[in-house]
Structure formats: C-alpha cells, structure tokens
C-alpha cells in the first residue's frame, strides 16, 4: 500500500475515535447511555497504528477500554452508538454495552471487563489459526495493570513455549485506576523481563500513529516469520478519569503538569500533521466533515432505535 493511503487510514481511525468519544462526552449526562464509560481519549495512536498494520485475517481482543480498538478495527459507528444506548440495533442488542464491544465478522473477538481475562483467549485463537495453517496473528490489548495478574505470566510463558503468533499489546498509561505502576511492580522494566522469554519485544512511547504502525508492521512480520509471540510495550497518557467522561486532575493522584507534555504531542494533532504532508487542508477538512457526519448520523439513529423486546432477555444463551 502506498504511504498516502496508510496515512489516510490512520487519520480516519484516530479522528473517528476522538470525535466519537467527544460525542459521547457531549451526550453522556443526558443519561441515554447507561453504561460505564472507560474512555480511550489519548490512546488513539496505539489502536489505530496496530489495526492499520493488521490484516483482515488477523484477530484482536480488548479490554473494557476499547472504544478506540473497536472503531479502528471496524470503522463503523452505527452498531457502536446503538450499543452505547443499549438499543436492539447494537452489536450485542444492548446486552454488552461499552465494556463488551465485539465485532465477530471483523475479527474483534471480545473485549472483557475482568482485567487480563482476555489474554489467554488469544493463545487458543492463535493455536486454532496455526492448526488451520493460517498466516495470521492474534493481537491482544491490555493495560499495565493486567501484567500484575498471574494469568498474564502464565499466558506469556505458554505462548512462547508453544510458538504462537500472539501480539501482546500492553497499553501502558502508567496507572491502574489510580495506582501508579511503581506502586504495583516489583521491577523497573517490563520489557527487560519479557526479553528473557522466547518472543520478540518492541517498545515505544510515541503518540504518532504512523510510528506505531511501522512498529506493529515489523512486529507482525516477525511473529509470522519467527513463529513466536511479540510483546509490544506502548506508552500513552489517559486524558480522562479511569471510568467516566471527565478530567480528574483535581482528585490529586496525578497532576496536570504530568499531562501537559503528552497533550503537546496529542495523537490526533500529530496524525493530522502527518496527513497534511499528503493532502491539502481542504481535503483533510472534507474528510473530517464526512466522519463528523457519519457519527452524528449514527448517534441520531441510536437515539431513535427501539430497545430489544423483553423476550430478548432469554435469547442467545445457548447455541
């Protein structure tokens, strides 16, 4: 693919995510979206860069903080907003909500609200793909809190042992809820430790979606070529509170000063600049307008859509 198309694809993802979440923030207090919001704002470069590098046959798994992953992977917003509003037209007919987005047809296997519970699932998925002779990877996203859990280490070990093409994507915002990493980790550097495992280790603190894309592309190629997992340690800053749509610098556990340097290299701003090397300002504005219209339309449709009938409660329990 030509670089221009990739830059365009990246900006679409980054901008779609940011604007969709802006829209959530604008409407959340109306109480139509009765679901706990864990916002991706600030982390857009990671999901967009990785999803841009992944291929259609690849699969992904995420956490309760997966708006960016969902929107980057699917590009659609109708099912997304309908699920936020709990409507019958949502991808889970409203049964999942913000913390449980899925897109089976686009290879988004699940997003889970039990920390680290998605990680071992990626191994089995990669194993099945390997048995089927597929040339694909499974990327599992999780936070720096998830690496506290035993199942992360068990999964890392097993994936390395079994030579599975899993990309472990650690989206490290430095906090688990309000607790900073240095108060949870008995070691300095996760990448140093993971380097002792038989996998390829990658790291970046870039908020430039293009840089993340380049890294993810290498990581994907290495996983396929070396028949082993990759571990990507990617830093970002969570702009908003752990759960909810507001800033939380007044809470006292982190400061605005810590945030400011990150804001200066805001992922949306950077990717816009990247794209302006390929498109004119007018063309970018037009693209933005299209995306704004897309999400406004999705929001309207979601608001107007019906709730599922009560009989839906008992559906889809067993196959």
């Amino acid at each position: 693919m030509k670089e221009k198309e990739i830059q365009l694809g990246l900006y679409r993802k980054v901008y779609l995510t940011r604007r969709a979440e802006d829209l959530i923030r604008a409407h959340y207090l109306e109480d139509g979206m009765k679901t706990p919001m864990h916002m991706s704002t600030g982390g857009e470069a990671i999901s967009s860069g990785i999803c841009e590098a992944l291929q259609a046959e690849d699969q992904v798994l995420g956490t309760y903080r997966s708006h960016a992953l969902y929107l980057s992977r699917t590009g659609e917003s109708d099912l997304f907003f309908a699920e936020m509003y709990g409507k019958a037209t949502g991808m889970a007919k409203g049964k999942g909500g913000s913390m449980h987005l899925t897109a089976a047809d686009e290879g988004l296997i699940c997003t889970s609200a039990i920390v680290a519970s998605n990680i071992p699932v990626a191994l089995g998925a990669a194993f099945a793909n390997k048995m089927a002779g597929k040339e694909s990877v499974v990327a599992v996203f999780f936070g720096d809190g998830a690496i506290d859990e035993g199942v992360f280490w068990e999964s890392l070990n097993a994936a390395c042992l079994m030579g599975l093409r899993v990309l472990f994507v650690c989206e490290d915002n430095g906090y688990a809820v309000h607790i900073p990493a240095h108060k949870r980790h008995g070691y300095q550097s996760i990448t140093t430790i993971v380097s002792g495992f038989e996998c390829d280790v990658w790291q970046s603190d870039s908020t430039d979606a293009w840089q993340i894309y380049l890294l993810a592309q290498q990581a994907r190629a290495a996983a396929i070529q070396n028949n082993r997992p990759g571990f990507l340690h990617l830093k970002y800053y969570r702009y908003l509170e752990h759960v909810g749509v507001f800033e939380d610098f007044k809470a006292g556990y982190r400061s605005r000063t810590e945030f400011e340097p990150w804001l200066e290299r805001d992922p949306v701003k950077i990717q816009r600049e990247n794209l302006l090397r390929w498109l004119t300002e007018e063309a970018v504005l037009l693209l933005e307008k299209q995306i704004d219209q897309q999400i406004e339309t999705s929001l309207q449709r979601a608001m107007e859509a019906p709730f599922a009938d009560h009989s839906e409660l008992l559906m889809d329990l067993y196959a």
């Binding site: 409203g94 913000s98 913390m99 006292g252």
Partner: protein, 347 residues
C-alpha cells in the same frame, strides 16, 4: 440509646473500631487506599493506621488471597477487599482449595482469621462481569463462613464479629445498601454471625430474603399491608452456616414461604432453604415453597432487559397474590427502587 448511621459508615466504624482494638488487623486489596477508598467504606483508615495496615496491592487477587492466608497463619487478621464479587472469582483457588480446608487439614492446629469483603454491583449497565453475588458458591464449601449484612446494624456488628472470628468469613455487601440509614446502638456492638432475623412482622406469608432482596421484600410487605395482607420478612443474614430456627418459626405460623434471593435460582441458596423448609415444616406448608431470583441468563447491560433480569417488589407481590389467591394489586401509583431512586432508609 441508638443513633442513625449509613451502611457505609457502619463499615468504616466496624473496621476502625477493630483496628484500634487489635493491632493485628489490617486491610488490603486493589484500590483499597486510593482517594475513593472503596466507595468510602475505608475512610480514614490509612490516615489513622498508616500504610502497613491499609494498603493497595497489585492486581493479583489469587496471590493476594494466599498472602492473606499466610499472614493469618502467622498471627495477623487480614481483611481483603474486592470491589466486585466477580473479581473474587480469581481468588477461588486459594479460598476453596487452601483456606477452607486449612484448619481441618492441620488437625485443628491452625486457625485462619481472615475476612473477605466483596461487593455486589448493579445498575448503570454493570452487565455480566460486574453483577454477581455468588454466595451459594462459597456457602457450598465447608470451612468458609458466608454472611450478607443488609442493615447498618449488621454491617457494623457482623463485620466486627467477622474480624474477631477465628475462621475465614466472606462478607458479601450489596452496593445499593451503602447509602441506607439505620439505627445502631450507641456503642459499637457485635452481632451474631448466624441466625436469621424478622425485619417486618406478619402472619399471612413468610419471605426469606438475602441482602438487597430484603429491601424489595419489605416494600412488597408495605404495599400488601395496605390491603390487610401481613407479610413477614425474614433476613437470612448469614448464608453459611444458615440457622433456620427463626424461619421455621415463621413458616410454622404462616404456612407459606417464598425465598427471595439476590442470585440466580438454579442450584442457589433458595433451593437449600426450600429443602430445609419442606423437611422441617412439611405438615404445616399450605403450598410449595416458591423461589425468586435473577432470570437464568447473564446480566444484560441495557436497562429494559436489566429490569427484566432482576426480581423485585413487583414480582414478590405477584407471587404472594398467586400463592394466597388474591386479586392483583393496583401498582400503578407505586414507586419502586432503582439505580436512580436509591433506597436511603431508614430500616
């Protein structure tokens, strides 16, 4: 002399009181010592007792439960907190394979004074990974005690008693109860860890309820009371051991029993209660014991389905009407509790 306090403040008072009394008591878990202090149920502990007795842990429920066991064996009295019961599932191996059988397996040489507090979530799209109760899971295991304090009095007194108990006690608290106001005695007093309690007297039918379902049952009793139907509501309080004395007395009087459990029905606590009542009150029962609980599905996010998932005062009233062969009560003017319309007491 009594005073009114919230369930939340009762929890704070219980733990503060015990930590002052006994320096071996400590509180720990994920986010226990951040500024939110587990919905403020640990207010002031860090300030008063310092970071060795109130601390955050890594996100490692399994290991931190085993840690609690080790600490308890060596003389401390840990209180481990899970913000949701669903996260306690990660601790099941230690709870069920290690802690429950520890004393037994040591020929009675060890004791395990270990309190686990776990909170039931509900509403605002908590969905299927943040809403479980699971008291029947843990109550199934001999060696674990399981309590579900409903009133501020029990939040205070049972929590204190749990901390003083030399056995593992799992206390399951419903998040919706935290703002409820209730009377407690002037000085902090322990309450027994087992034994049900009549919280609304009546003669026509008995409801045995757990946790939040007591609030629903009481409201049902009040609504039907206006029609002259008197409903006796019995708070189970403790799931394991479960002492049925008070319940049996009530059912012998009324001849009817409904179990309103804050859980799924199938293989749940209600089945245990129904079995005991059929066994003990067989000749007195005028109808089979009825059981009410969650719909047999995972909890959906969206409000209309979530409402259909949970059982509440309305379903209790309808069940009573059908058991007592009453015409349906007009409920159009009633306001039932919801996520927005929180129960604030008094009890």
């Amino acid at each position: 002399m009594s005073r009114m306090i919230t369930y939340r403040d009762a929890l704070v008072e219980a733990v503060t009181h015990e930590m002052r009394r006994d320096s071996s008591v400590f509180v720990y878990g994920i986010d226990v010592a951040d500024h939110k202090r587990i919905f403020d149920s640990n207010k002031g502990l860090l300030e008063e007792f310092g970071p060795n007795r109130c601390f955050n842990t890594p996100l490692s429920e399994d290991a931190m439960t085993g840690f609690g066991l080790g600490a308890a064996l060596n003389g401390l009295r840990p209180i481990h907190i899970h913000m949701r019961v669903d996260f306690m599932i990660l601790a099941m191996n230690q709870l069920v394979n290690m802690i429950s059988s520890f004393r037994y397996g040591s020929g009675g040489r060890f004791k395990v004074p270990f309190v686990v507090r776990a909170i039931i979530g509900r509403g605002w799209g908590q969905s299927f990974q943040h809403n479980k109760s699971l008291h029947s899971w843990v109550a199934h295991i001999p060696g674990l005690k399981v309590i579900m304090p409903t009133s501020p009095k029990d939040a205070l007194g049972m929590t204190m008693a749990a901390i003083r108990d030399d056995n593992p006690v799992i206390s399951i608290e419903h998040r919706w109860l935290y703002d409820a106001l209730g009377a407690v005695s002037h000085t902090a007093e322990t309450q027994p860890l087992t034994g049900a309690e009549v919280i609304h007297p009546g003669n026509d039918i008995t409801i045995l309820a757990t946790s939040w379902m007591n609030i629903e049952a009481k409201q049902a009793a009040e609504v039907l009371g206006r029609r002259g139907v008197t409903v006796e509501v019995v708070d189970a309080r403790s799931i394991s051991p479960f002492d049925e004395t008070v319940l049996v007395e009530s059912v012998n009087k009324t001849g009817y029993c409904i179990v309103a459990d804050n859980d799924w029905v199938h293989c749940g606590f209600g089945a245990e209660v129904a079995a005991r009542i059929s066994h003990t009150c067989f000749g007195r029962l005028k109808a089979p014991v009825e059981r009410l609980g969650f719909a047999p599905t995972p909890c959906p996010c969206t409000r209309p389905l979530e409402n259909a998932f949970y059982t509440g005062a309305t379903e209790i009233i309808r069940t009573i009407e059908s058991m007592l062969k009453l015409s349906p009560t007009d409920l159009s003017g009633e306001h039932f509790f919801s996520y927005e319309k929180k129960f604030k007491g008094p009890f």
